[in-house]
Amino acid sequence: MTVHLDNYREIAGAEVLDELHIVADRVRHLSLQNINSTPVGGGVAEILTRMIPLLKDLGINASWDVIKGDEAFFNVTKAFHNALHGAKETITDEMLDCFRENTEMNLRDMDLHGDVMFIHDPQPAGLIARRREIGKKWAWRCHIDVSTPDPRVWNFLRPMVEQYDASLFSMPDFAQRLPIPQFMVWPSIDPLADKNRELEPEFIRTVLEKYEIDPKRPLLTQISRFDRLKDPLGVIAAYRLAKKKHDCQLVIAGGGAPDDPEGAEVLREVHEAAEGDPDIKVLLLPPFSDLEINALVRGSTIVFQKSLKEGFGLTVSEALWKRKPVIGGAVGGIRVQVINGVTGFLVHSPEGAASRAAQILADPEFGRQMGENGHQHVKQNFLLTRHVKDYLLVMLALEHPGADIVDLV
């Protein structure tokens, strides 16, 4: 089902939609072509699926195309992805050739027609080679953290990136020093997606009962992959400490990738740590569990995101949007979503997480107020509508390079 701009009027506020129209008026004469590497799966495809109809509703001629590539190419780009994140990968000359060959094929076959081109992530970055020939405005939208990349991969990509008119990063911490303007565009959540939309209380209760959670007692939850960097064992330790002061239950839920041996190992450790406590539920959820995850968060009293290292960590905004106070590790994007003491607490240890959880459990009104603050914070900063506005402003920025104040009289 296609969701339209008007569906966001009540949720985001009429003034937000008016603002989008005001900005769109200034770029309506420009077409916008987005290019990424996959039509489904992954955050980029998810956002573009939602965003393109909204841009069209605003009168922007927006389109989205996907590059082609053989299996070898996508293996190479996966290795690139890991290497850009700082993982050890062997990158051979053959792999670089494979990237070049597939880029050449796409350069030959693709219709690059936008007045403004948004190229998402490294896979299609080489399309910039046609910039001189077709003379459009090009922005490279980098959704990943390239702050500590494998130098071989970054040195390969960097000359491409430097030809763009601008780059877009999700956080300053993810960026590289580049000779082109770099804008910060936070990612966003879609309040109408299954993961976030309002649910009937009856449905929430059914999901809690399915997992034998008592809806009458406080519930602490962490939803994350089974990964050591999400510190699930620290969450269990925090829960045990908090429980000495206040009765509560704990859910640790996450998906598992079949090809992830570390995930299986972490899951085993979590089960072991939870053993003997019927109030801890460890749930390995299958793919497409968005509605159940939504219900588990809505049924919670407090949500943890006790990561030791984190990208942006949009699970925090997903919980704040549902008016849940979040206790998060003071790392990555958690720090901009959790305003310490206002929308939740930033912590550095299981002990810190436990004492903050106990504080909220002791004063439900305080927790409710934090949840309300969190909802407002997300409404102002992390909804899809804000993301759309930023993209429109990037289009405008590409039209007005240079000046830091642009007078649009």
Binding site: Q176, R177, M184, V185, H377, L393
Partner: protein, 219 residues
């Protein structure tokens, strides 16, 4: 000299631009504060006014926040937060004051340079601002205050904070216009409001109260 030009309300939309420079300790912060564009100094002392309005007790100066959270310098943090930004009408002056406070702190005999955690570096940013006409225009002083009641936070921010310091117009746009209308006393009373001691909603209420007082002077 009095003029009869109308007041055009504007508003702004902004993108955050990364300066690509970061500091991992106080020395690096100091060197970059001396070097980055003025718009970056303005950004880090003003941006939080707009990012949320959930807490009345937030420190707006991001240099002060970083000094406290990343390099554990609470005394420096307090001194930076206590800088009276409203005393300055140019970024140059504000930059010099930041440097003076940092230099003084670093010259203390027991000063030790501490490194920030790798994931909490100070990333210098600036904003790229687009100024939009709202289409709202006031021809008279009463009309001006009536419109002011309905303007957005961003519009207030632009005319009061950006105009005065980032654009270095020396005073806010409202006072400049009222002064031109011959309303010198009212213009000065509004100019005397320190926006850094309140949030934007509080600032608007105070300006409106001054306007109401002006229309109905106390006998």
């Amino acid at each position: 000299m009095p003029n009869d030009q109308p007041f055009h309300f504007h508003t702004e939309r902004r993108l955050v631009e990364l300066a690509g420079r970061q500091a991992a300790n106080l020395q690096e912060l100091r060197d970059l504060v001396a070097e980055v564009p003025g718009s970056s100094i303005f950004y880090h002392t003003h941006h939080l006014f707009l990012s949320h309005n959930l807490s009345r007790h937030v420190v707006y100066n991001q240099f002060a926040i970083w000094a406290h959270e990343a390099i554990q310098e609470p005394a420096l943090s307090e001194k930076l937060a206590a800088i009276e930004i409203y005393a300055f009408t140019s970024i140059r002056q504000l930059r010099e004051e930041l440097l003076r406070v940092i230099d003084e702190h670093m010259s203390a005999p027991n000063f030790e340079l501490r490194q920030a955690p790798r994931d909490n570096l100070f990333h210098f940013c600036q904003s790229k601002s687009f100024i939009f006409p709202t289409g709202v225009t006031a021809w008279t002083v009463p009309e001006f205050f009536e419109h002011l009641r309905h303007i957005s936070r961003l519009s207030l921010y632009f005319h009061f904070l950006e105009a005065r310091l980032r654009l270095e117009r020396k005073t806010n746009d409202f006072s400049a216009w009222l002064e031109g209308r011959g309303e010198t006393q009212l213009a000065r009373a509004i100019d005397a409001l320190d926006p850094y001691s309140m949030d934007l909603e509080g600032l608007k209420s105070k300006i409106l109260a001054l306007g109401a007082q002006h229309e109905r002077p106390v006998a």
